[in-house]
């Protein structure tokens, strides 16, 4: 696994494959980084994602205005020097709202990755490693949940969550309800997305574990007395890391799009907090007279999702050219 079998033609060879690769000893990660940085689309994706991360982190410093500062004397302004993306119907600066909105998208991305790592990976490991009824239980659950379009499930669940959290009775629900309100409705979004985001990774890790656990190195580890937990965390997990990273990267744009979709429908983040989905919904209402209010958020959301996909494609090609994650 440490070097790439150059004799095997990859299904989708990396673009601009170096004709004369430097033949020195490289580890998997160095090798992957080398191939990733030679994939132009992946580099574009990576740069955009890093930029977005910086904007989200420093939104309060970078944004020229606050996201909810209304200026009723300058509503629906076209883009200009003072307002690079113009203003909305309440005179709020669209660029500032987009910048603060990126925080929501990035928060969703981080939580999605956390759920993938903390729920999907362990469940997949357990299902693949122990097999039998545990495997059946976990994988049948995955199959049933995957049978439906995830957004359908998410919408049904968030309808329930919204009502429960709004009610907020009892000690636990009261705290959760106020947390949800404090986060502008993000808590409900996290829970609803969490329900579906771990599914594909759990299935993927299970498949990896099923084939890996028959390999000699696992047998050898057992021979010298490794416990189940040690075999899983020290031998099976590191060897499944590449597909996990790729799957997690592909999961991020899905989660960001789902949040935007929920907020667009009024089921996700609540105004005045500027989720990109809300900005698009507001833009649609004003599109006849002021199309820029729709175009900026819609195009930037689209570019963000495309760049995450570029990065995912690049990582897939870089980490394992034969790997296919969909």
């Amino acid at each position: 696994m440490t070097t790439v079998d150059r004799g095997f033609a990859p299904l989708a060879p990396p673009r601009a494959a170096p004709s004369v690769a430097p033949r020195r000893e490289r580890g998997l990660w160095r090798d992957a980084w080398y191939r990733l940085t030679r994939n132009r689309a992946a580099v574009v994706g990576l740069v955009f994602v890093v930029l977005l991360l910086l904007i989200a982190l420093f939104a309060s410093v970078l944004a020229p205005y606050s996201f909810d500062r209304q200026d009723l004397d300058s509503t629906d302004l076209a883009p200009s020097g003072a307002h690079l993306m113009g203003t909305d119907g309440l005179g709020r600066d669209l660029l500032s709202r987009m910048m603060y909105g990126s925080r929501i998208s990035l928060a969703v991305a981080l939580v999605d990755v956390a759920i993938v790592l903390l729920v999907g990976v362990p469940l997949g490991l357990i299902a693949g490693f122990f097999g039998r009824w545990i495997d059946t239980l976990i994988m049948r659950t995955v199959d049933i949940l995957l049978a439906f379009p995830s957004l359908l499930l998410v919408i049904v669940v968030i309808t329930y969550l919204r009502a429960v959290l709004d009610q907020g009775e009892g000690p636990l629900l009261g705290v959760l309800g106020s947390l949800d309100k404090a986060s502008g409705g993000l808590l409900g979004v996290f829970v609803a997305l969490g329900l579906v985001s771990w599914l594909t990774v759990a299935r993927l890790v299970r498949g990896q574990v099923l084939s890996l656990k028959e390999k000699e190195f696992v047998e050898a580890a057992r021979m010298v007395g490794a416990t189940n937990v040690r075999v899983m965390t020290r031998h099976l997990l590191p060897n499944s890391l590449a597909p996990i990273i790729v799957a997690a990267t592909f999961g991020i744009p899905l989660a960001i799009a789902a949040e935007a979709g929920l907020s667009f429908l009024g089921l996700g983040v609540r105004p005045p907090y500027p989720s990109w989905g809300i900005l698009i919904a507001e833009g649609l209402r004003n599109m006849r007279a002021f199309p820029h209010e729709l175009v900026f958020p819609a195009v930037i959301l689209a570019i963000t999702l495309i760049c995450f996909n570029f990065l995912g494609d690049g990582l897939r090609d870089a980490l394992d050219p034969k790997l296919r994650v969909d």
Binding site: I155, V156, A163, L265, L267, I280, R288, A298, F308
Partner: protein
């Protein structure tokens, strides 16, 4: 084969039953009632009367079995929001619109997606391939509500070619933007799968044999390679249907198409729980039927697969 189909059809009954029960429980566990969130708050007496009229004051098991009995007779109950139409009538009125839109979108997806993927595979690693993959990534990455928004901006507002919304049947110009918006997602999925599948087939020995015996290159792709390459593509039918359904949620609402996707979204935002339950059941049935059809067609396309 007949036994297989029959058994799959039988399995749909418990599956639908589980979907029904789970959705029923979620809907009834949801606090608040359909009578909340009106402009004028209703008095307690009126709410109690409404609850009585809709049997919402019965014990939950009784509600469940009464409702189940009605559903088995094809009666999905009254809509809480719409006084004049029952849930069954709403679905009967809106489902055909969505089915027409969905079928047209899928046709668009097949007509555009498969040739695009095939072209990208044949012109592998050329600018055509790269352009096609950019188009494909765009279609896969962007959600339907972004695609429909941008289509409206460009085609309706910018170029003033098409109206900004409305529905006058599938053969009206108003259907173009919804079809493009919904269909571009599955088109991208099909293109991606066709490309990778065809690339794999083109590397096989019998393709080289065909080239060697002097078959024209286009004929090799069309007659020899495509047939085998399309088998794996059929397996994504379920994924594309899911894409069409979730696309319809947004596109129908934004473009003002009176379809079932919009009813689903309206039922969620309006807490019309019976309509929510009814639409979810329709989607579940639709997905199961398409998955079955996919598996059956798979057996016909690939003689190596036998169902027992």
């Amino acid at each position: 084969m007949t036994v297989y189909v029959f058994r799959r059809l039988l399995w749909m009954v418990p599956s639908l039953f589980i979907v029904f029960t789970l959705t029923f429980l979620v809907v009834h566990a949801t606090p608040g009632s359909p009578w909340d969130e009106r402009e004028k708050p209703l008095s307690e007496a009126v709410k109690a009367n409404l609850n009585k009229q809709y049997h919402l004051d019965d014990p939950l098991p009784k509600q469940y079995f009464d409702y189940l009995g009605n559903v088995l007779h094809g009666d999905l109950g009254p809509s809480y929001r719409s006084v004049e139409r029952s849930v069954s009538e709403i679905i009967a009125a809106t489902l055909p619109v969505s089915v027409q839109l969905g079928v047209a979108s899928l046709l668009f997806a097949i007509v555009v997606g498969v040739p695009l993927g095939a072209l990208a595979a044949v012109k592998h690693n050329t600018w055509i391939d790269y352009t096609a993959s950019l188009v494909t990534v765009t279609g896969i990455a962007t959600p339907a509500f972004v695609r429909v928004s941008l289509l409206i901006v460009v085609l309706s507002l910018g170029l003033a070619l098409l109206p900004t919304g409305g529905w006058e049947g599938i053969f009206d110009v108003r259907a173009i933007i919804p079809i493009l918006a919904i269909g571009s997602g599955p088109a991208a999925i099909l293109a991606r799968y066709t490309r990778s599948s065809l690339l794999e087939v083109l590397g096989q020995d019998y393709i080289r044999t065909a080239h060697a015996k002097g078959v024209r290159p286009n004929a090799v792709v069309a007659a020899h390679a495509m047939k085998n390459a399309l088998i794996p593509v059929v397996t994504v039918a379920g994924v594309t249907l899911g894409n069409v359904i979730t696309g319809a949620f947004f596109v129908e609402r934004i473009y003002g198409v009176p379809g079932i996707g919009r009813q689903f979204i309206d039922s969620v935002t309006g807490r019309d729980y019976t309509l929510l339950l009814g639409t979810v059941m329709v989607f579940a049935l639709l997905i199961m039927v398409v998955n079955l059809l996919t598996d059956i067609s798979y057996g016909y396309l690939d003689p190596r697969i036998r169902y027992r």
